[in-house]
């Protein structure tokens, strides 16, 4: 277990220490929080743009962040020699592979927490903003709600706090930035709960909580691609691995590669939440179960490939 934790921790740190990770966290959170600003684009429902922005951010930015981290954690370590240095210890190769992927999934979970909290807050703020615009006298181009302001402040505040920590206590900037930006999101969501707009009781009951399980289902689908990218990176260089993963994601929108890669549409449950729709729990459960099986498949495949891989 100590070996597993040491390897997983290094993979998580490596994933968050990349400058690209901090940029992806910042861009993804800014995209989600700024969605309510464009309240004229409601797609027939207040908050829908913000909600779909959150899901898209997880799928696009999250998948780029996590698959790049998986390629670095496996392929990068093999190329740089750190994998050989680790595997010269009493570390089974299968354990090395699974622990590295687990570390990357942990960093992706941090991304999920940030996006989930930001999406709930942005969807709620968007709905409140649209309602305020309806009752406002005269044309309104922007509606700034306290939730929206808090979300943007939390994101920028996390970035600035990371810079200060780096300046004064030499904390790793990118790791601190990712952690602080991500952890600030659930914090401001909690702060936003008692904040009410005039005429709108902002309570926990009104928050669109069903977004969170739907995002978790999508994240499970993404985890299959993380394990897939890791398995490919055992044998391939980063560029062909990235190309194959990108191709597989695109293909998975059109038709599933049965028993190997998931059909993304089955994990994309955001449409079911439209117009106050309920999450189809049975369908969500099936998708999660399928994702667990496919992740296990790619973990076994990656471990077997690494068993036979020479480390010159």
């Amino acid at each position: 277990m100590r070996r597993f934790l040491a390897l997983a921790r290094s993979a998580t740190l490596e994933a968050l220490a990349e400058p690209l990770s901090a940029i992806l966290f910042l861009v993804a959170l800014a995209t989600v929080h700024l969605a309510p600003v464009f309240h004229y684009h409601q797609f027939g429902e207040p908050g829908r743009l913000a909600r779909e922005c959150g899901f898209s951010a997880l799928l696009v930015f999250g998948l780029v962040f996590a698959t790049a981290a998986a390629v670095r954690a496996i392929g990068g370590e093999i190329a740089s020699g750190t994998a050989a240095a680790a595997l010269a210890r009493p570390v089974p190769r299968g354990l090395f592979f699974c622990a590295k992927i687990a570390g990357v999934v942990a960093s992706f979970a941090l991304f999920l927490v940030a996006i989930a909290a930001a999406t709930v807050l942005a969807t709620y703020s968007s709905a409140i903003g649209a309602a305020l615009a309806d009752v406002a006298e005269g044309p309104v181009s922007r509606i700034w709600t306290p939730g929206l302001a808090l979300g943007i402040l939390a994101t920028l505040g996390g970035f600035v706090a990371a810079a200060l920590l780096n300046r004064f206590v030499r904390a790793r900037f990118c790791v601190s930035a990712c952690l602080l930006m991500a952890l600030a999101q659930p914090l401001v969501l909690c702060l936003a709960l008692p904040l009410g707009q005039e005429g709108f009781a902002s309570t926990a009951l009104l928050m669109p909580w069903n977004i969170i399980p739907a995002l978790v289902v999508l994240a499970c689908g993404c985890c299959v691609f993380i394990a897939f990218a890791g398995a490919l990176a055992v044998r391939l260089k980063p560029a062909p691995t990235a190309a194959l993963v990108a191709g597989a994601v695109l293909i998975s929108f059109v038709w599933p590669i049965r028993f190997v890669l998931p059909e993304i549409n089955r994990f994309w449950l955001v449409d079911r939440l439209a117009a106050g729709g309920a999450l189809p729990w049975g369908e969500a459960g099936m998708a999660v179960a399928a994702a667990v099986c496919l992740v296990a498949f790619w973990l076994i495949a990656g471990s077997l490939l690494l068993q036979r891989r020479e480390l010159p």
């Binding site: 934790l5 595997l87 010269a88 210890r89 009493p90 790793r172 010159p312």
Partner: protein, 260 residues
């Protein structure tokens, strides 16, 4: 073979070892190791010497189980190099100090302590002791990505020693070090050998190896072209100061004649 049985076996036993690298189409590209026989006994400081491309690092990687031999066998404490029980008893310093640049010196040594399954309390104590020993206690909390080559080498040395290994494998330990760093490494090898550690070391620095090795083998084109006890080589030499260098040049010359 059990670990107890392995305790009686030579630390490293290599028989008829061959390694042929192949390309994508499985065509042979290079014969890196071509039928090596070696035995490293307990307490030896064994020098594996040879010019660039002679097969030293490839041999070491087969001893570590990182490369699979094309033919022949390697036994580590009487076990397969892939056996965890065998690898739990060794420390490895690679030719280049492969370190995670984002980890601090302390985290790096703690990481390798974790990989060696040391509990947290022991790992912390051992890390502090080793960083002190290699002169990096004051830089323990700096990321190793910002270290000089010599400092990174010391971190790698501390990482290799963290699990109290019985066998230490050093691939070019003085590579990239200045004269003071080289002397410190030689002194460290001497201290570890005096403590009874078995050491397998590769190097180009013959003058340095003469001081630290008890036995040597000279490799050329993947073959052992000469081997013996350093004390015997020095005793037989006219120029005692350059005895190993003269022996090395003579054996390489003989090896190349043989190859022709």
């Amino acid at each position: 073979m059990s670990v107890e049985a392995g305790a009686q076996a030579p630390v490293i036993e290599i028989r008829g070892l061959r390694k042929t690298f192949r390309d994508f189409w499985f065509r042979p590209v290079a014969e890196a190791v071509n039928g090596i026989d070696l035995t490293v006994e307990r307490g030896d400081v064994f020098g594996l010497l040879g010019p660039n491309g002679s097969g030293k690092s490839t041999t070491i990687k087969m001893v570590l189980g990182l490369l699979a031999p094309t033919a022949g066998s390697v036994k580590l404490f009487g076990l397969s190099p892939r056996a965890r029980a065998a690898r739990a008893r060794l420390g490895y310093l690679p030719e280049l100090s492969y370190l995670h640049p984002f980890l601090t010196a302390r985290e790096t040594v703690m990481y390798y302590a974790g990989l060696s399954n040391l509990d947290r309390k022991t790992a912390k104590a051992r890390t502090a002791e080793l960083l002190e020993q290699v002169g990096l206690a004051e830089n323990a909390n700096r990321p190793v990505g910002g270290f000089s080559k010599g400092m990174a080498r010391r971190v790698a040395f501390a990482s290799a020693l963290v699990s109290h290994p019985e066998l230490l494998i050093l691939d070019e330990p003085t590579s990239g070090l200045d004269p003071i760093g080289t002397r410190e490494v030689k002194e460290l090898i001497g201290r570890l050998a005096a403590d009874g550690l078995t050491i397998l070391v590769t190097s180009h620095q013959l003058f340095d190896m003469q001081d630290v090795c008890s036995r040597v083998a000279i490799l050329s084109h993947g073959k052992v072209v000469g081997s013996g006890r350093v004390a015997d080589i020095v005793a037989a030499a006219a120029d005692k100061r350059h005895a190993l260098e003269d022996y090395f040049v003579a054996r390489l010359g003989a090896g190349q004649e043989g190859a022709k």
